[in-house]
Symmetry: C3
Subunit: 348 residues, 3 copies
């Protein structure tokens, strides 16, 4: 199956620079692409690789440099790339039906258009919506719900009462609804505070492999619609995450913290408990936000401070050696002056 470059341009609302009849059979990386492939240049750091690529055609955004290949020029190269990969690699939908080995609890409802895989276990009273998929060996506790088109990959575990919204996708090994980490400590003993709340994942959320989201002590831990969570992220009990946030790999959020809309936590970032991060706040990679962050503010460092200030600190830290030398030199010169003036004084 091949498309002409002009057809692809029409599909993504772009224009062709070069041969509109160029036949495209697949989409490939710059390194792997050949004359019958489309590749893409979505970041300037790959310009040299694009110039050296054997790709017949390259998808680019506005202002891209001239290249050997025919160009498919669009306003937003990342959006067009998403569309074109989906064209060449249409998602595989699992067949509707419940595998004969799946265990479905009493009173659970599985929509006839949903897929339930081998050895999946669905607890009593749960509700699996139209077109949803519970893949092999996933566990859905009691009284859970899966919205239309939601997907649980193999080995996902939903504890009792967890709700996953429409079209949300939970990757393999993720655990939603495990007990929050709460103890009443006295006399060297930690008494468990029962965790009686639940986890609500709204629509269009993605949760990465082996990520963990704890149930609330009471009430809800909530993940807002359209939020994307990467692998091995930890979300503590009673956390509330707004819409369209981005939580990168291995980030963590301690209990009862609230993130506004569009908040970004970069890789391995941490956020302390009982804090509020305003809309569109950002925490830099490997940083730890241990106090509230106002809307729109970017922070970095441990503990995190305003990002520009942190960057200056990093530069200044690098000058500590030089500062120490200058200080020693000033000390010497000042002592010399003092000695000389002391001598002069004696001469008086």
């Amino acid at each position: 199956m091949a498309y002409s470059l002009a057809e692809l341009a029409a599909l993504v609302g772009g224009r062709v620079e070069g041969d509109p009849e160029r036949a495209v059979e697949s989409i490939q990386t710059l390194a792997a692409a050949g004359p019958r492939d489309l590749s893409f240049l979505t970041h300037p750091r790959y310009r040299e690789q694009a110039a050296a690529s054997a790709a017949g055609a390259i998808l680019v955004g506005p202002g891209a440099p001239p290249l050997q290949a025919d160009l498919l020029v669009v306003g937003d190269a990342a959006q067009a790339l998403a569309r074109l990969i989906a064209l060449f690699h249409p998602p595989r939908r699992p067949a509707p039906g419940v595998h004969p080995t799946a265990v479905v609890g009493e009173g659970a409802r599985v929509d006839p258009t949903a897929h339930v895989g081998a050895y999946a276990v669905i607890g009593a009273g749960s509700d699996i919506g139209p077109g949803a998929a519970v893949h092999a060996l996933a566990v859905v506790g009691r009284d859970c719900s899966l919205g239309a088109g939601a997907v649980l990959h193999p080995h996902v575990v939903l504890y009792d009462g967890t709700a996953v919204g429409e079209r949300s996708e939970i990757h393999a090994g993720a655990v939603l609804g495990s007990d929050g980490f709460g103890y009443a400590s006295a006399a060297g003993r930690h008494t468990k505070i029962p965790q009686a709340g639940r986890v609500i994942v709204e629509a269009d959320v993605e949760v990465g492999a082996n990520a963990t989201i704890d149930r609330a002590t009471l009430g809800e831990t909530r993940i807002g619609a359209g939020t994307k969570i990467d692998n091995l992220v930890q979300v503590g009990h009673n956390v509330e995450i707004g819409e369209a946030c981005i939580l990168c790999g291995q980030a963590g959020i301690a209990g009862s913290t609230r993130l506004g809309r569009g908040v970004v936590l970069a890789g391995q970032a941490g956020v302390g408990g009982h804090l509020t991060l305003g809309d569109f706040a950002q925490v830099a990679a490997k940083s730890a936000a241990l106090s509230p962050v106002a809307a729109g503010v970017k922070v970095g460092g441990i503990p995190a401070i305003e990002l520009g200030k942190w960057r200056r600190e990093v530069v200044l830290r690098g000058r500590l050696e030089e500062m120490g030398r200058k200080l020693a030199e000033l000390t010497r010169r000042l002592a010399a002056l003092e000695e000389r003036l002391g001598a002069e004084s004696e001469e008086d």
Copy 2:
């Protein structure tokens, strides 16, 4: 089912300020509670929310401010909260018995009061104690033991030889007994050092979702009684953790390190290998203890130093720009003096 506030006070050894006949039907967060609910104020940061809450009654510790709601005043609000949540949300005990799909290996003993869920796999020679629960799809290797009342949530994996003590609870996806990370490296090749030891988890331990605890190379990796481990924590081979420690989310401990009793690792903290942390030592969030920590000492930073010193460093780091300016100013003023005195000298 409703309780009077006086009944609840009797249960937790507290007293009522307000109407002892106040009927309480459930326990809720400050935001969700209504007139027939009890809520709680366990931290001053929530005072305003407590004042604004519609809760009919609020559990408080000593010295709490006056509130609109009737008060249930106790000596330790967190302990009372634990008791009261358990009252309104009694834990669900899984029914005794082995699910017909569970695979139980040769010579394994499952107490008749224990629960073994669907598709759980129990290895030869293992021993599941009275009232213990092996939930759906959990894997117990060969020659493991589960003490009375211990719980393995779905998808827990115990490698061969792992012992889990009485009443300990292991959350979904946690892996106990995986091979330690040990290689003999020479000439650019890493030869695996077989990991022939085991993991011992003592009584009343809790291990969080997707946490990992490696088996010892030889001997034991040991988690002391009453220790609580949060999600995604990593414990290396041959680590020995004392009693009643607290390891918060995403913390990690490298191999052969020993933690005393009551040690606290805050979120995302790390501890290097072959170290000793004394009783009640604490490592701050996002910090890395790379040298031994004496008993009772709190450390922070990377590498971690005494906490007070680290906090001063953080403050001083924030003054680097100012220090640089002062240094430049002193340099100017000193040069001016030197120039003037040089001139004076010439006048002599």
Copy 3:
């Protein structure tokens, strides 16, 4: 079964200092070993423990101190230890054959010498090589391949198209081939970029428990032969890792980054996206490499800089208080000089 010390020496190419007829029945830690056990001293930090050990014999490298015990002296104690533990604890090979409860998809090939455990699920078109093991409840997607002798521990998940090389061992709960974290963001919405590539794990790789390795957007995420990856490590999409690298616990690598051969990431280290780390580069524990690292260079800190420079920074940070004091003192002394000279000027 007992060996004489002389037999063990012959096996590992070492020599005996002491009684070559010493009978050795097992290998134990220094603390646990008795007169009929061999123990080992592979690091000077355990010299005191070795001196106090009741072990009948101790394995040591060249230049070890004299000890009470008979010594087995070798050129490389770690390599000999690996060999000797394997001798006393031979690895248990699971029996060939497919458990009757395993689900094997259409067109999948399982070598008759391979082991497939209870409730394992193998997707259509996959290929399980000779002597390979797919343990209980592991999931192999469609069109995957497992090389000869490769091992998937319980609950491993391979997404479609993943290849695992000969003798590679994937520990429990690890997820290979989950979707990379890629979105096209516009107008506050994150559109998923389909992740259509795959994961290739070459031969002799070890992947730790609950580690995650994402599939490429297009093309491959690749783990080089002989590389060892510890628990809870995250490897982003399109990452390419060279041969014989070491990635310690909870380390993470963002997307499209390339590691050369023999690279070491210490515990909880992070590496940014789209970077290159040259052969034998090393990132210190808890550090974040956010720019490229040249071959052979060791870096530390956040952001990571050359290791020696970072260590000096750490020392200098510890002197900030003293620098502040010196600066204040110089300011006072300079002001005193200025005042005096001002006075002297007036006297003129």
